[in-house]
Symmetry: none
Subunit: 400 residues, 2 copies
């Protein structure tokens, strides 16, 4: 994992589970298969936390040394457990596989530790008490780890912590304002924050505001979140487009659905990314007709019936072309509303300056267009073009 | 990140970069926005490593406290840098955005530290010397972090480490064979492996073989890799489609370019994902014409001129429809070759069983189609449909 071959998704999964169980996580550490380093990491973790969860290193191969490291930290030896031995043997029999002797290393348990039965893989988990602290060892394979955590670790943790509090968090997503602008809009809430707390997350051009509430029950936590969400969302005006898993395409879909209209797209530099983002919304088939990906001038004229003269006069990267594309898409798809974008993504400026993009939204009443200059590389320009168009369409349809 | 809202991809990216630069990573730690904890984490990291890279917490909002934490560890104060102030102001001017005062916090630099100019975001990076050790602070936004690391941190690290050994690795990517099938194909190489070493990586349906060579110089390491790559690729036959960053769309583009032909797409369930994957290939405008995203039956008939009778008889999710879509796309785009896919992605089976997808490739000589049943959820089915179509087209055109 330190080599970067694998992205650690276990930490995020455990983070979500522990947080929603009301257990604070103060640290996550990744360390290589190196006995002294694992030992030192465990000791440091035990010095600052009541419970430590270790994932991985429980396999049969020589580089799986989590069992040894924990036994060292506990100051005990490893005991081969015959019950686990039988279980492992039966797993291999049931899979008609001959069992390499090395697998029996997985039956070693630090003296004084309890083991967690393996139901998906061959490695059992471990619950290792140290005075008033505890180390949990789980397999690194995500679905094995998740099953074992939910079945055995979480209940044990809840019992030890004796706390029943719940943490609920909600993310409010915005588009079109910088992180600092969003921070200013809700400055009063941030200053007065207590429970829920307020934090900022950025990524992909979306600025997100995360509310996190603690309460004895899930219901009370949800109520705290709901009040704060109302206040924050009002301050963020229509920069806020959704919460948690809701995307810009989802927000657009909500407007389109409410209006009971049908939508089509014509796109150039995004190459289908806009249509694909829309189809990512389950149920999009109710209101989305399709997208004309017209990557060449010839395709723009032959598919959308754009006047070649217009392309000669203004070029394919122009507000005029964007407007003609949106109007063309409305016609050929028989749509109520159509969106379009055309621009220069690079790597070499062919039609215009790299990052220059024009967007248009054509409705029954009129066609509006905007042009902006986006920063970044080819991929980022196409990604931001997609989001900008979806947001432009969302606002236009909402105000229509 | 501890709450699990964000999966940490920066650590994996840094792991890959540092490893291939021959620099050992011994630890990765995630810690919350808590001054004492960040300080303690930095001190522990400095105790066991010569260099520490910190990402995130350099933003303008109050919870961005990395600057303060580093200054504390250095035992110095923060100095507002007027050059950075001017730079930040100009960034906001160029984007026609008014600048909230809070942004100027990003101009604070620990006394005695150097700063790294920000070229993508508004936060500068920091190079903070502590006796013979160093802390690098980079933004948390991946593309900002990556650009700054490559431009400023890696050169500085190399200079400090003075190390000359180089690790070079190359990933050979395959599509269409299971991990164990790929392992069997190259079993002899795996058994004989030494330098380079051979490892398997899976993800997104692609089975990848990573070769890693160590040598005193980059040239020698590259030579070792080149020999092994030749041997492995030959054993993998046409399952191997590219290396490292090369995608299935890139491999398809290579075939299309060699043949000097032009390509078009008609897609339904993928909603534009196929066109978008193709446009991801720089220079695609030389050979890619566009894609007709026809999400409804009406769009299939009106845009591609598919006989409504065909849709009535066979349904939209059928080999016949896929073939008609490909032939229609060839005609309306005036393309030499056109690809198509149509299928049922769910969440509710409307036209056919969820996961049933048909693919077609239409060339001057003939039109071929295949149908497969894909596992997984809506997103996975659309992703695998895209890859399957690109691979089907790559093989068809290569053998044409």
């Amino acid at each position: 994992m330190l080599l970067g071959d694998i992205v650690d998704t276990n930490s995020a999964w455990l983070g979500r589970e522990l947080t929603s169980a009301g257990i604070d996580i103060c640290h996550q550490t990744t360390v290589g298969d190196n006995l002294p380093r694992i030992r030192q990491t465990l000791e440091q973790a035990l010095a600052r936390a009541d419970a430590v969860i270790v994932t991985g290193g429980l396999g049969p191969t020589p580089d799986d040394i989590t069992r040894e490291a924990i036994a060292d930290v506990m100051g005990v030896g490893l005991v081969r457990n015959s019950e686990i031995e039988r279980l492992i043997a039966s797993i291999f029999r049931s899979r008609d596989r001959s069992m390499p002797e090395s697998n029996m290393r997985q039956a070693d348990v630090p003296a004084g530790a309890r083991w967690i039965e393996q139901r998906l893989g061959t490695a059992p988990g471990l619950i290792c008490p140290l005075a008033d602290r505890v180390i949990y060892a789980l397999p690194g394979v995500p679905h094995e780890m998740e099953e074992m955590f939910t079945r055995a670790v979480l209940p044990d943790l809840r019992e030890r912590s004796g706390q029943t509090g719940v943490i609920v968090s909600r993310v409010i997503k915005t588009w079109g304002a910088s992180e600092s602008a969003v921070a200013d809009m809700i400055a009063e809430r941030v200053e007065q924050q207590g429970n829920p707390t307020i934090a900022f997350l950025a990524g992909g051009g979306e600025i997100k505001v995360r509310l996190t509430a603690k309460a004895p029950s899930r219901e009370e936590a949800m109520a705290l979140i709901a009040d704060e969400e109302r206040a924050v969302t009002e301050l963020l005006k229509n920069y806020a487009f959704g919460t948690d898993g809701e995307t810009l395409a989802y927000a657009l879909g909500r407007e389109v659905r409410e209006k009971g209209i049908h939508l089509a797209v014509a796109e150039s530099l995004t190459g289908g990314m806009v249509g694909s983002a829309i189809v990512d919304v389950p149920g999009a088939s109710d209101w989305f007709l399709g997208s004309a990906v017209v990557y060449t001038n010839h395709a723009k004229t032959s598919l959308l019936g754009i006047d070649p003269g217009l392309l000669e006069t203004h070029g394919a990267v122009s507000a005029e072309c964007a407007r003609a594309m949106a109007e063309g898409a409305r016609r050929i798809f028989g749509a109520d509303v159509a969106l379009s974008c055309t621009g220069e993504a690079g790597p070499h400026p062919l039609e215009a300056e790299i990052g220059q993009v024009y967007f248009a939204v054509s409705t029954q009443s009129d066609t509006r267009s905007i042009g902006i200059r986006l920063p970044g590389d080819r991929e980022r320009i196409r990604l931001y073009s997609t989001s900008t168009l979806l947001d432009f369409a969302r606002r236009t349809i909402a105000s229509d």
